[in-house]
């Protein structure tokens, strides 16, 4: 089973097993890793599973859809490596992937 390393903004690392087919958001929630909220439950509607996936791992992912990019507009602390965890599906090829988490998820009022 693929292992994914979630790194909190403060540096704490969580190495967890994630079933292939689950999203990066589900991998964190089901393993009780803090830092991802997943308010909308994975229908790309809230930007509270914002994360950063960089370098070789980013190269192995399919590009974000227009819907994901539109929702990323809402994320605070957005960077070039920003993704929504609910839209990134974990596969065997992503065994060892490192996912960095932001200090805050976009939540609250405009």
């Amino acid at each position: 089973m693929p292992k994914v390393t979630y790194v909190e903004a403060g540096g704490a690392e969580h190495v967890v097993d994630v079933d292939p087919g689950l999203s990066v958001m589900e991998g964190s929630i089901l393993n009780e890793v803090p830092g991802i909220i997943g308010l909308c439950g994975g229908i790309c509607s809230c930007a509270t599973c914002h994360c950063y996936i960089e370098g070789e791992w980013a190269d192995r992912l399919s590009a974000p859809t227009e819907g994901e990019l539109a929702m990323l507009e809402r994320a605070s602390e957005r960077k070039g490596s920003s993704r929504l965890g609910c839209q990134v599906v974990v596969t065997e090829a992503l065994d060892g992937m490192v996912v960095h988490l932001p200090a805050h998820q976009a939540i609250g009022e405009d």
Binding site: G41, G42, I43, C44, D110
Partner: protein
Amino acid sequence: MTVHFDPYDHDTHDNPYPVYRALRDEAPLYYAEPYKVWVLSRYADCSRALRDFKTFTNGQGTAVDVAKEQMPTVLDSDPPTHTRLRHLMSGMFTPEAVQPLEQVVRDMALDLLTPHIANGQLDIIGDFAARLPMAIICKLLGFPREDEDMVRRWTDLVLQRDEATTEMPQHAVDATLKLFEYFERLMTERAGRPARDDLVGHLMASEKEGKLSHQEVLGYLYILSIAGNETTTKLIGNITYQLHRHPDQRALLLNDMAMLPAAIEETLRFDGPTQQMARTVGRDVEMHGRTLKPGDRITMLFISANRDERHYQSAELFDIRRNPRDHLAFGGGLHSCLGAALARLEAKVAMQEILRLMPDFRVDEAGLRRMHSPAVRGYTHVPVEFTPSQGVRLSA
């Protein structure tokens, strides 16, 4: 003062908000003795219960009363079953996936509204909002158009509750069985024919591939029929009512229709249709000085959470400029409403057309009628009057 809260009381349904406030202030962990359920009313507590799915579980049902004749569903299940069921559909209900339906929704909305425009009056629910979401979900599911009214009658009966009920009433059980019979008949008819690209076809194929049991297919059709119908109907009615009650907010919106999505979010926060959902405690948990034990039942009052002044400033004020993004009207977390993006799309198109065709509508408050259910709050009749017009059809 001792707080008393009864989720089945018809007077409470008329205006639950004062008792919600009393619960938040005086009894944030309230025991509703007749229903053997702990009631959570603060934002922080509801939000925690939604997110901590191992402590607050769905597998033993999410209705306050005891459900009967149920099939397994994505709502009343826990990971990993929940994850498997949700994955079958989650990609089909993103904003991007439902966006292509906008023109279909608009055409249906105009078909329903146009006959009434020259008369200057209609019932927003009976003539319009009760029909629009059902028409769309039936189209997505692949139910024949002529079956819509029949399916809607059954799904209404499934949710309707009398006062002081502790288990699903007979009319709801009968309607549940009618729905299952209907689904079976439809699938038997379709089994011999070429596969069609709709949700029934998708679920039938998933069963064939071994991804779903037959009972899970029936459960999915049941929950999609009910969830795709009742709550969006009530949301459109509640937006209409709140804009009538708050003319300053309607004026803001008419002046800048780009604020419509924010007005929908504010209605969801302030007066969302889904009032509560229940969970079963799966492991010991401390709340407000008490230890809840495995098997204890809790219910989360979502709209009370949404009006919690510990979380929102001036929480009991309806302000469409607020644009709250973290309200709990769709729940939250793994079980968050699968159809939220579709509900938002339908509400947006419905209100665009209502406000374009009848911007000066007035609700006849004497004619308002409410449905009675602990789970869903909203009207069965919202009669409105407005200046008649020719109702020009704009091409989008």
